[in-house]
């Protein structure tokens, strides 16, 4: 048997553990590719204990001994939680003389234009922990004033005396010349070696001081916490005889060693949601869809992301801790990250009346008190209450039967909400359901336009407990024709981790005119350098055969400020410029309506270098209820198209390739329910995914 070691016992090729806000999801793949999954509640006060217990439970479930684990992969919300709740270590910030207020001034964006009460996010470092030193580099990289070494030395001792555990150094134009920042690092190493130092030029190569400085400060803020966490984790695993190497998921969708993650924790703050998108990209490709919208909807938020040619789209910066999900209301981070748009539309989002109109979210009942139907003290109707009243959810089997839902409570709360509008509970529920789908449609459209693509050309993959309940309606709103509900949608992020690869993403800014010729030469030169750096970060030679690279370039009409990213073809010859121009023109006119006859400029060059290694063919399976009947019953549900109607209820675990679920109907499984609208046709493919053709039967 291949799934055993030489001595014949079964081993765990990989273990994946995703610690989220509410649940911790685990998955394991053995040597034969068989996957075992497990779900437990997160223990926010003691993540190390939760981690180790979860892994032990999973191994027990799989019947595998702890010393037969080859590697562990981990995604965690630790980074974003520490920032959002301001629980980081005391840090100091050192900057160029005259610029000590940059972190406090921030962007001056008025993200709520009519609100006189608007606040800015609280910076991670108070002004009293900011130091200024005499030095100056110009935009060209030329040194105008050398670093004042004497003053610098005094500042180091002051910072040391202040009790800071970590310091961030951010000097103007350090992306062009990091000399002074590096000199400071040496000084700290000599005089205060116990203080962790982050240089802004280490975390970002981009101009725009506030975002780069904030990225450095965030890294410093997280470093002591990540180091403590990872070292305690290592010790606790060792205690249980697990010596396997630990890999951490980065925001950019690749794994990195725990040592690197401890040095640059700011690259892992979006660890969890990213693992979900990685799963979405892989599962859709396996089901034959290369261009998809990934839609992940949980208890408090929904996240949409775009996968093009089987790869998640990457952005060079994002904001953390945004207020009501508004642009400009959070702290900017210049790190490569899977491009996600997150909005306050989850199962727990509260519905209310404003100016005589229904509105859903962004306020959430979260898990405490939770939706009214949880009967845990919630009184305001939520998205989940609406889905229950509409007949989409089975009160007895929600979340694997973990919570018995109170339908009467939900009906009463919705009736109360709808009364001023003259609506009964069912009509109100229908309104809430439509509106939450509309909110998500809006977010998805915005991210699409931003990326220069038309959602109608994309399929949709949905997961998260609430995702498959709402996805078919969202798909219609967007004009999407195919929808995928992958097997194991409930533990999507852990499955994503299992199939992730070690990856390094690097980007470099260099402006050239595309028509200037020699694009292929410039590309070769830049990418050679980027490949060398990325390979070194992964501890291998640039020509290591296990490495595989994808190359991208950001293009814009000369004079514009925003780029659209295009992947380079595999062959780089004299025709490269023309090919890129064609690809850009298609993308641009597709969304903005017009292509211009103007010079094109290439600006940002990005490489994604992956260690392909041994790709394991997983055999996830949905435990099949052998001999069970796919059609397990009927119930009443409401759809705007049909009114109240009797629908079929299918058991996903009993469906086989020949079964067809014709909407309106629901397909139930342990962790979620897929709702099909009138005219939708669902089937199970050989990968165990539900493939839905939207509105197919109606044509």
């Amino acid at each position: 048997m291949t799934g055993t070691t030489a001595t014949g016992s079964r081993f765990a090729q990989r273990i994946a553990i995703d610690i989220g806000g509410t649940f911790t999801d685990l998955a394991l793949i053995d040597g034969e590719g068989v996957v075992v999954t497990h779900k437990r509640l997160t223990t926010p006060r003691n993540p190390v204990e939760g981690f180790v217990s979860g892994v032990s439970e999973l191994l027990e479930l799989a019947g595998i001994s702890p010393d037969l684990v080859h590697e562990i992969r981990h995604a965690t919300t630790l980074g974003s939680n520490v920032v959002i709740e301001r629980l980081g270590a005391p840090v100091a910030f050192l900057t160029t003389k005259g610029f000590g207020d940059v972190l406090q001034i921030q962007k001056a964006v008025r993200y709520s234009i009519y609100d006189t009460r608007m606040r800015k996010p609280e910076p991670l470092v108070p002004r009293s922990r900011v130091w200024e030193v005499n030095e100056r580099v110009m935009a060209s990289g030329e040194v105008l004033r050398p670093l004042d070494a004497k003053e610098a030395r005094r500042i180091v001792s002051e910072i040391r005396a202040s009790g800071a555990r970590a310091v961030a150094v951010g000097f103007l134009h350090s992306y062009a010349n990091p000399l002074h920042e590096e000199q400071m690092k040496e000084l700290f190493a000599q005089e205060a070696p116990e203080i962790y130092v982050t240089l802004s030029s280490e975390v970002s190569q981009l101009a725009k001081e506030y975002a780069r400085f904030n990225t450095a400060v965030t890294n410093a803020y997280l470093t002591p916490i990540f180091r403590d966490y990872l070292s305690r984790l290592g010790a606790a695993l060792q205690e249980r005889s697990i010596e396997a190497p630990l890999w951490i998921m980065q925001s950019s969708g690749g794994l990195t060693s725990s040592e690197r993650a401890a040095a640059l924790p700011v690259r892992s703050v979006e660890s969890g949601p990213t693992a979900g998108v990685t799963m979405a990209a892989r599962r859709s490709s396996m089901s034959g869809f290369e261009n998809v919208i990934s839609f992940d909807m949980g208890g408090t938020t929904a996240k949409a992301s775009i996968v093009t040619n089987g790869r998640p789209t990457i952005s060079r910066s994002f904001e953390i801790d945004r207020l009501e999900m508004r642009d400009g209301s959070g702290l900017p981070l210049d790190t490569l990250a899977v491009d996600l748009i997150e909005i306050g539309s989850g199962g727990g989002s509260i519905a209310q009346l404003l100016a005589g109109a229904l509105q859903v979210g962004p306020r959430s009942a979260a898990s405490e008190p939770g939706p009214v139907c949880y009967a845990r003290g919630g009184t305001e109707p939520t998205v989940t209450d609406a889905a229950l009243v509409l007949g989409y959810l089975d009160p007895a089997s929600f979340a694997g039967g973990a919570i018995r839902l109170d339908r009467d409570g939900a009906v009463k709360a919705l009736a109360r909400l709808g009364e001023p509008l003259g609506l009964d509970a069912l009509q109100t529920a229908w309104g809430v359901h439509q509106l939450v789908c509309l909110n998500m449609e809006r977010a998805t459209r915005l991210i699409s336009i931003d990326k220069g693509l038309d959602p109608r050309d994309y399929a949709m993959i949905c997961f998260g407990g609430a995702g498959p309940v709402h996805a078919a309606r969202l798909a219609r709103g967007l004009g999407v024709k195919n929808m995928i509900v992958p097997a194991g949608a409930g533990v999507g992020s852990a499955l994503g981790l299992l199939s992730s690869v070690e990856k390094t993403e690097l980007a470099r800014t260099r402006k050239i005119l595309l028509d200037g010729g020699c694009v292929e030469k410039v590309a070769r030169q830049i990418f050679e350098e980027l490949r060398r750096q990325a390979a070194a970060m992964m501890g291998c030679e640039p020509d290591d055969p296990r490495l595989s690279a994808h190359h991208f370039v950001g293009l814009r009409y000369s004079g514009q400020g925003y780029e659209l990213e295009v992947e380079l073809p595999s062959v780089w010859d004299e025709g490269l410029g023309a090919k890129l121009r064609d690809a850009f023109a298609r993308l641009y006119s597709n969304v903005y309506g017009y292509a211009e006859d103007l010079p094109l400029e290439a600006t940002t060059w990005r490489i994604a270098l992956e260690s392909v290694g041994q790709d394991i063919e997983e055999r996830l399976s949905v435990e099949r209820s052998e001999g069970g009947r796919a059609l397990k019953g009927r119930r009443t549900a409401y759809f705007g198209e049909t009114g109240e109607t009797q629908i079929n209820v299918y058991d996903r675990h009993a469906m086989s390739g020949d079964d067809r679920a014709i909407g309106p109907c629901v397909i139930e499984e342990r962790d979620t329910t897929t709702v099909l609208l009138p005219g939708d046709i669902g089937r199970i493919d050989e990968r165990g995914a539900i493939i839905v053709e939207i509105g197919k039967a109606a044509q």
Binding site: Y114, H173, E209
Partner: protein
């Protein structure tokens, strides 16, 4: 029948807002000037076939409030029955649009089959439209609008989908940076394309009759929300007056006065007691005045809770005689009118402070908008360094003001690293002015200062600011904000105090220091919590003298 249920109305409302947002993203993504894509100085909105604004994206209030009138003026020149699918009308007339020539408006009819079902409009502030100084906002030496640049009455930019090349050629011949202006006009065109397509498909989905009925309901419901909120304010006349320092070197202060008349659910803004129009580039054309009266009304009623639309403008009436400072007659100039944006709501808040102090804030720090131009020694080309810095927001009942934020509009800081890469200048310092937040039980937000060194051989600055002699007001015993100033070569032996609206020749090595005026406090400073005073002192927001003398903090 056009019977329509509340749910469909909610859904359509959400979609209308979303269309405006998509238009906004399109402009930002495809714009060519920093002012538009980084500064966000543009706006977009969706209108019904009658020209009523159905939704807007939350962008520049000056454009947004003026849009309903701008579109009406464009339709006077091009009656709707003459419009064809693919037509784009543009205009930058200051009296028809939002009060100064740099603001261009683009409008397109939206068709469903052969019927006009609505209009989409986009506007943006162009970096230059010609005139005597780069940036087209100079104050000194300007007395009438003919000096301020090129003016397009409503004209066709696209005719049935085909570009009108004459327009582009005229722009090329008249502005300093034609590629940016034409590029930004195309970004507006892209937004009209996206918005028009989406609006047409929304009408197709619901049918013209149902959608029109839904739109009517949306506007009526929004109007009701504003009226309900206004009804809670006791009826009466509330007056306030304030002063603009002057309208350029050697000119006198200008009296700004408003009487706010609250009558049930109606609100009337009467500016009759303000001074007459000035023979300078600072006047507030009527649409600009309207725009910020609408802003103030929304800020004291529905804030950001309800998306802005035409319904919320209905309870508002303006009374402004012709040739008043707030309703100048041609050929008055207005290039520098942006200084006034925060002043209109501030006047209104000053009046309302007498009756609903909990709904408003104290006066805010005045923003500054200096423009430097010259020849860049790195490439021999002309550069225009369009800079701005903001004050802090005034304190309000129960909370300190936010620091470094315009009280009325979104003006994202252009990063210093970008400015130095683009222009031959070096920023020596950029930070908060200690003690610029007016003292009070609740402290005003802090204002910004900046020091800029000139690296070009020769250059020229057109300064633009105010409140260098008349500070912003505090409320309920809170202190006024300190006045602002600007100084040439502040650290030299011969510093020169510059006029807030003066033009100065500069040479290499000169340093300009701009200090925005401060914001007002709210409530007696002696009542401020001790911990808050100590925190302000530790974080450098106030000086130890202020802590001791104004706040009465005994040495810790």
């Amino acid at each position: 029948m056009s019977e329509i249920d509340s749910l469909t109305v909610s859904v359509i409302w959400g979609r209308l807002v979303s269309i405006a947002e998509e238009m906004g993203v399109t402009v930002r993504r495809t714009a060519y000037s920093e002012a538009v894509r980084e500064g966000g100085d543009f706006s977009v909105a969706v209108f019904d076939a009658e020209g009523q604004m159905l939704s807007q994206a939350d962008l520049s209030p000056g454009h947004l409030g003026a849009m309903p009138f701008a579109i009406g003026n464009m339709l006077k020149s091009y009656p709707r029955e003459t419009l064809k699918s693919g037509d784009i009308i543009i205009m930058n007339d200051l009296y028809m649009g939002s009060g100064h020539l740099p603001d261009f408006y683009c409008m397109s009819p939206v068709f469903l089959q052969s019927q006009i079902v609505g209009f989409v409009v986009a506007s943006a502030h162009m970096v230059d439209v010609g005139g005597i100084k780069a940036g087209s906002q100079a104050v000194e030496g300007v007395t009438e609008r003919f000096q301020e640049g090129i003016c397009f009455p409503p004209v066709k930019f696209y005719n049935a989908g085909v570009p009108v090349p004459e327009i582009t050629r005229i722009i090329e011949a008249n502005v300093r940076v034609p590629s940016k202006v034409i590029g930004d006009l195309k970004a507006l065109r892209n937004a009209l394309h996206a918005g028009g397509r989406a609006l047409s498909s929304l009408f197709a989905t619901y049918g013209v009759e149902r959608l029109t009925a839904a739109a009517r309901r949306i506007l009526d419901q929004s109007e009701r929300a504003v009226r309900e909120s206004l009804s809670e304010i006791p009826d009466g006349d509330y007056s306030y007056e304030d002063w603009l320092d002057d309208v350029g070197p050697g000119t006198r202060p200008v009296k700004l006065a408003v009487t706010v008349r609250v009558r049930g659910s109606e609100i009337i803004f009467d500016f009759s007691d303000s001074d007459p129009q000035t023979a300078s580039a600072i006047n507030s054309p009527i649409n600009f005045t309207r725009a910020y009266c609408y802003w103030a009304t929304k800020a004291i009623t529905t804030r950001n809770d309800i998306p802005q639309n035409h319904g919320q403008l209905r309870p508002v009436t303006l009374v402004v005689p012709d040739s008043n400072f707030f309703n100048p007659s041609p050929p008055a100039a207005a290039g520098g009118r942006a200084m006034l944006n925060q002043r209109i709501p501030e006047l209104i808040f000053g009046a309302l402070a007498q009756i609903v102090p909990e709904r408003i804030t104290a006066g805010s720090g005045q923003w500054a908008n200096p423009i430097i131009n010259g020849i860049d020694p790195r490439n021999g080309q002309r550069f225009v360094f369009y800079d701005y810095l903001v004050g802090g927001v005034g304190a309000r009942s129960g909370a300190d003001g936010t620091s470094a934020l315009s009280p009325v509009f979104s003006l994202e800081n252009i990063p210093v690293e970008m400015q130095e890469a683009a222009c031959p200048i070096l920023v020596e310092a950029f930070g908060f002015l200690r003690d610029s937040g007016g003292a009070g039980e609740y402290r005003g937000g802090l204002s910004l200062y900046k020091e800029v060194r000139i690296l070009a051989e020769h250059a020229e600055v057109s300064n633009l600011s105010d409140r260098h002699s008349h500070g912003s007001y505090g409320l309920e015993g809170g202190l006024d904000g300190p006045v602002g100033r600007s100084v040439l070569n502040p650290h030299s032996d011969e510093p020169v105090v510059m006029h807030s609206k003066g033009v100065y020749a500069l040479k290499k090595g000169d340093v300009l220091r701009y200090e925005c005026s401060g914001s007002g406090g709210f409530g007696d400073p002696k009542q401020r919590r001790r911990e808050a005073v100590e925190d302000d002192l530790r974080e450098g927001r106030i000086s130890s003298e202020a802590a001791a003398t104004i706040y009465g903090l005994e040495s810790p």
